[in-house]
């Protein structure tokens, strides 16, 4: 990591844990929860958000001295919407099934608060390279939570990971199922996404006492 100075390294690494957008800053939960029933969808969503945020941060940072303060929200929305349309079209072209599955949630990246939040809080006041790193870090932290939630929900709900039957076959009764293990169909339903995130927050705050609210 000799390429990056200490400050630059912190820009990427902080949001992954102690300054995580979802569990600490409470941003971008909207689109995060509904698509985490399967790991594959979570990974695609994470990659899409990383792409949109990193590129968007750079664009806004380059334009930061030209954008009039009063209409900056509209400018930001246009930049995000254009990037999201690109992501949507790319997904439709190369992963049509998955894009059908994610349905409106790709479009909802536009109103994902992480993106607006980082534009406002960081890209408007920093140079493009730092903004790029900040984008990677924050979207990465968001993606990390998505992937953790997707991992547990798919593993416990379907007994699969990326569609591979890692716990054995529930119908043929092989692997764990031979011992009487059952899939917990409840994990697939939407309420469990909330509860899994609640538990992640719990674990994180046990480890880092500074984050505890009164």
């Amino acid at each position: 990591m000799a390429l990056l100075s200490r400050k630059e390294r912190n820009l990427v690494l902080d949001p992954l844990t102690d300054d995580n957008p979802i569990t600490v800053q409470v941003l971008g939960i909207c689109s995060a929860l509904a698509i985490t029933a399967e790991l594959k969808a979570s990974v695609v969503m994470a990659v899409s958000v990383i792409a949109v945020l990193a590129v968007g941060n750079v664009v806004i940072s380059l334009l930061r001295n030209v954008i009039p303060n009063k209409i900056r929200i509209i400018v930001q929305l246009v930049v995000i919407a254009a990037l999201v349309i690109l992501v949507d079209l790319i997904l439709k072209a190369f992963a049509f099934e998955l894009s059908k599955q994610l349905s409106v949630f790709i479009g909802l990246i536009i109103t994902n608060c992480i993106i607006m939040g980082r534009f406002e809080a960081f890209a408007l006041g920093n140079n493009p390279w730092h903004s790029f790193l900040d984008g990677i870090g924050n979207a990465g932290g968001y993606g990390l939570i998505l992937i953790i939630v997707g991992f547990f929900r798919e593993l416990l709900g379907f007994g699969t990971l990326f569609g591979y039957k890692v716990l054995g076959d529930p119908i043929e009764k092989t692997g764990l199922y031979a011992l009487g293990y059952e899939n917990n169909g409840f994990m697939v339903l939407s309420p469990m996404a909330l509860i899994v995130i609640g538990i992640i927050i719990w674990v994180q705050r046990i480890k880092n006492k500074e984050l505890i609210e009164d």
Binding site: L33, L77, V78, L108, C113, F158, S190, L194, G198
Partner: protein, 249 residues
């Protein structure tokens, strides 16, 4: 009849917070006190009621495949649906601004009540989500679109009102320190979502097959499909079990 059905379905079964997690950010941020929650909830109903029908018109006459045919037959092959996101969000941002100006002029009381929340709403996922779901579910008429906007707004309002009331009370409870604040709110929301799932059979009288084909439209399509697979699996396991018991007997 379909109006009543859509109304109750949008409030209870497809509740924006509990079924599709839309507008979670402001739901978590502004639910510390009941009074502010009511203000934001009312603003959301108001803005949804304006933007969903407006975006329905845009979708019907500009964006849909072949929607431009009213300009003349040579436009029939145009499909502008890739512009959906940018047009919808522009409409929402403008409408929010407009609504703010109009309300300020004609009803200062309402403006003071909604005031700070209106600009916040432009980037609330519930608003854009309402329009996108309206498009994805192919709501057929303008009246139904208006109905959908208002009723999903009411659903959101109910959810934020409930959580704000619970959070006011939970301050007196002895929650484990690391769970305090955000963590317990997530878990309570999860439990409330489980509660709302029991409305699922409301319109079909608990007939699961009919319900899956009806509600399983684009939105929850994924999950319903998975559920069906799941229930097929359980059916199979049950039949396997039956066979086993039979052979044992």
């Amino acid at each position: 009849m379909e109006h009543i059905e859509l109304f109750f379905k949008s409030i209870f079964i497809d509740n924006m917070i509990f079924a599709t997690f839309l507008g979670m950010c402001s739901y978590l941020a502004v639910s510390k006190r009941v009074a502010t929650a009511v203000g934001l909830g009312a603003a959301v109903i108001f803005v949804l009621a304006v933007t969903v029908p407006l975006n329905w018109l845009l979708n019907e006459y500009i964006l849909k495949d072949g929607a431009l045919v009213w300009l003349g037959p040579e436009y029939a092959s145009y499909d502008l649906s890739f512009l959906t996101f940018i047009l919808f969000i522009a409409t929402i941002a403008t409408m929010v601004q407009l609504v703010e100006i109009v309300v300020e002029k004609f009803s200062p009381g309402l403006y003071n009540a909604l005031g700070i929340f209106l600009p916040l709403i432009a980037v609330n996922c519930a608003i854009l989500g309402g329009s996108l779901f309206m498009q994805a579910r192919e709501i057929p008429t303008l009246g139904l679109a208006l109905n959908y906007g208002i009723s999903s707004g009411i659903g959101w309002f109910l959810a934020i009102l409930a959580i704000a009331a619970i959070r006011e009370k939970i301050r007196y409870s002895n929650v484990p320190a690391p769970l305090r604040g955000l963590g317990i709110t997530f878990i309570i929301t999860g439990l409330m979502a489980i509660g709302f799932m029991s409305f699922g059979g409301m319109l079909t009288g608990g007939d699961e097959g009919a319900e899956a084909s009806e509600i399983g439209a684009p939105v929850m399509g994924v999950e319903t499909e998975q559920l069906q697979n799941e229930s097929n699996n359980t059916d199979k396991t049950i039949s396997v079990l039956d066979n086993q018991t039979l052979t044992k007997e």
